[in-house]
Subunit: 407 residues, 2 copies
């Protein structure tokens, strides 16, 4: 596993809880001390799995290759930054490793994500007899598997898909992002995008929003965003007439976001800046990306867990033609408590809902249930064993048949 | 003159306009190119004064001493940063130069200003036969001279003093500060303070505010801040029962300020940060003060002039016992148009209202009207020749006798 942030911490805990499947495990990241800390916490919590740690810069293919050649992992679980997907995939190909990630590649100098870069690796993975599993977190990930499950069991034809993501938690901070602030702010400040009648429709950032009612939570203002799973789902389910993604934001959050943009701190270009060297040896002119510096002063998402109250609710609202030939609606979702996630892993619910599916995806691969050479989005695999594990691994799902989807 | 920002640019223009008084003039700052640019603009505007320029780091007493020994200025006009007041005063003492500034000393690692540090130089300036004129901008500066003028001509006893500072300009930017953002944000985010019945009363930051009506502008929400001129005025006019300072802020400005604090960008402590070197030679760990980095991405106050509409209105609202033994009120103020300031000097009104008084103070010294060895706040000198120059140099003042002060 590459990465040692909140999601990686959760995935590591869940891997240690499933030591019957995962017999050998290494955590590597740019700072080895962070990996060692995760291992220490896991052992303190009473799990016995022997976990190796290593230092690696995931931007550097050569370093990755050296590590993979040495440790010889069967599967590399990429929980690093989206910028690093391609270097890690390159190293996997070079060293004969299978691959799994939770977020698609995005170039560092452009706030823009799409699967094309990773789909371009299809033939190479296929020829090498290696499996790459893309987007195996919650959204993308579980939301795509929910859709596959609905298609397999409940619908002859999925026509309308709305993925709804609500975080109704309260971390008692004036402002904090729930995952990497850099990635979060890039995602939200870009234009909205949805699929309708065979083409993409672009909106201004946060232009479209409406109140949606979430189970056990109530109505929350929800904003249409572009989200990567839509891109593969409309290809894999061509009957879909409209696919959209919605995420809740509070007024306080949006106010902070607006100001962050107004003052220039969401910029992703480099600013030249002169600053004293930390070792006191003089002054240096450095290049600083404002958004990356902002990340350094904002609360660390990994530190939000304590006192985080409330829950997340993420699911798929689907309308289409059922197996009986009639129109049906289907809402499948999970609610996750921030407090319960924290008590189990020391991380809040947003890290938990991404880290658990990453582990289940790895489990699917290790059990031989999800290995087909090539590069695949998760909805291309059998959803049933994954759905079964969700109930066992802390993310139980619920269904509402023929309810009012509000959409 | 040390400094090459907006205020310095205005002061340089006004010095060039008064070449009968100022026969020799040098502008020095950390970046000589900025000084050369000011000279170029002044000469382009048709003024003939020969102006020298030099490079100097005002944090470095030895560099200042070398420059002063070489150029031998009679008066050093300090328009650098408030952190640099003491190094410049030290160099003046060492080289036998007189001194003038517009803002009192403030240590870099603490958002706190007071005159004590500079008043501690009194005896040394006195013994050296040198004059130091403190706080000769608009506020402090003109507001203190307005008070001295009121005391000299209209009041036997000043009892209540409210200094009111309104910027009703619109620069058409989402957020920008009107002077150095670092100094501005430090000033506003600290606790409020006012003088009442012989002691200082502290308030939470921006706790007290009320609508005040400004001439030609109308009502504007005005916030009680601590401001340095109050500190010397209550000592020099011991009959003052209450002295306060008010400044207008719009809701948009305050919203940005709140968020800047919430996200940690107003912090003045150092953050260790690793960044690539600008010359591409590697990566360095540097120390960055978030508020200073924010300054680097915010609009430069010197660039606000173009399209800046509206005007500033700054004045003193005074109540006390008049020379006739009866209670009177007196409101003396200046309104300054951002556009007119820009057309004359290329800078907006906030720079203009500070730079013009700095030049007039220097003129008072050079004409021999304001030179008394020691360290002095401006109200200690004769206000009359200064008030006369305000009318001639672009900052005419107006009086309202026995009007409603609203306070």
């Amino acid at each position: 596993m590459i990465g040692a942030g909140g999601v990686a911490t959760v995935a590591a805990f869940k891997i240690a809880q499933n030591a019957d499947v995962f017999t050998e495990f290494m955590i590597a990241s740019r700072r080895k001390a962070k990996c060692d800390k995760i291992v220490e916490d896991i052992h303190k919590a009473g799990y016995k799995l022997d976990i190796k740690t290593a230092q690696v810069d995931a931007d550097d293919v050569e370093q990755l290759k050296a590590l993979f050649s040495d440790y010889k992992p069967e599967l590399v679980i990429n929980l690093a930054l989206p910028y690093q997907d391609l270097t890690i995939m390159d190293a996997c190909l070079a060293c004969g490793c299978n691959y799994l990630d939770t977020a698609n590649y995005e170039p560092k100098d452009e706030a823009h994500f799409e699967y094309s870069w990773q789909w371009a690796y299809r033939e190479r993975f296929e020829k090498a007899g290696l499996t790459a599993i893309l987007g195996c977190g919650f959204d993308p990930g579980v939301t795509s598997i929910y859709t596959a499950y609905a298609a397999k069991h409940h619908f002859k034809e999925i026509q309308y898909l709305d993925i709804v993501d609500c975080n109704a938690g309260d971390h008692h901070k004036a402002f904090a992002t729930n995952f990497n602030p850099e990635i979060n702010i890039r995602e939200i400040t870009q234009k909205g995008l949805y699929w309708e009648d065979g083409k993409w429709v672009e909106t201004e950032p946060l232009e479209i929003h409406k109140d949606l009612t979430y189970p056990e939570i109530g109505p929350r203002d929800s904003y249409l965003l572009h989200h990567e799973e839509i891109e593969s789902l409309v290809i894999n389910y061509p009957t879909i007439k409209r696919a959209r993604f919605w995420m809740t934001f509070g007024q306080q959050y949006l106010k902070h976001l607006e100001v962050i943009q107004n003052i220039g701190m969401s910029r992703i270009d480099e600013v030249e800046y002169e600053a004293p060297l930390a070792d006191g040896s003089g002054v240096a002119k450095v290049k600083i990306v404002p958004l990356q510096f902002l990340k350094a002063v904002l609360p660390n998402p990994q530190d939000l867990g304590e006192n985080y109250e409330g829950q997340t609710s993420i699911g798929c609202r689907i309308r289409g033609i059922g197996n009986d030939g009639k129109e049906h609606t289907y809402y499948v979702y999970n609610n996750c408590s921030h407090r319960a996630a924290y008590e189990e892993t020391g991380m809040q619910g947003v890290s938990y809902t991404t880290g658990v599916p990453a582990m289940i995806g790895a489990m699917m691969f290790c059990k031989g249930l999800w290995n087909t050479p090539g590069v695949h989005n998760v909805e291309e695999f059998d959803p049933d064993p994954f759905m079964e594990q969700l109930n066992k691994q802390g993310l139980p799902w619920h269904e509402i048949h023929d309810g009012d989807l509000e959409l």
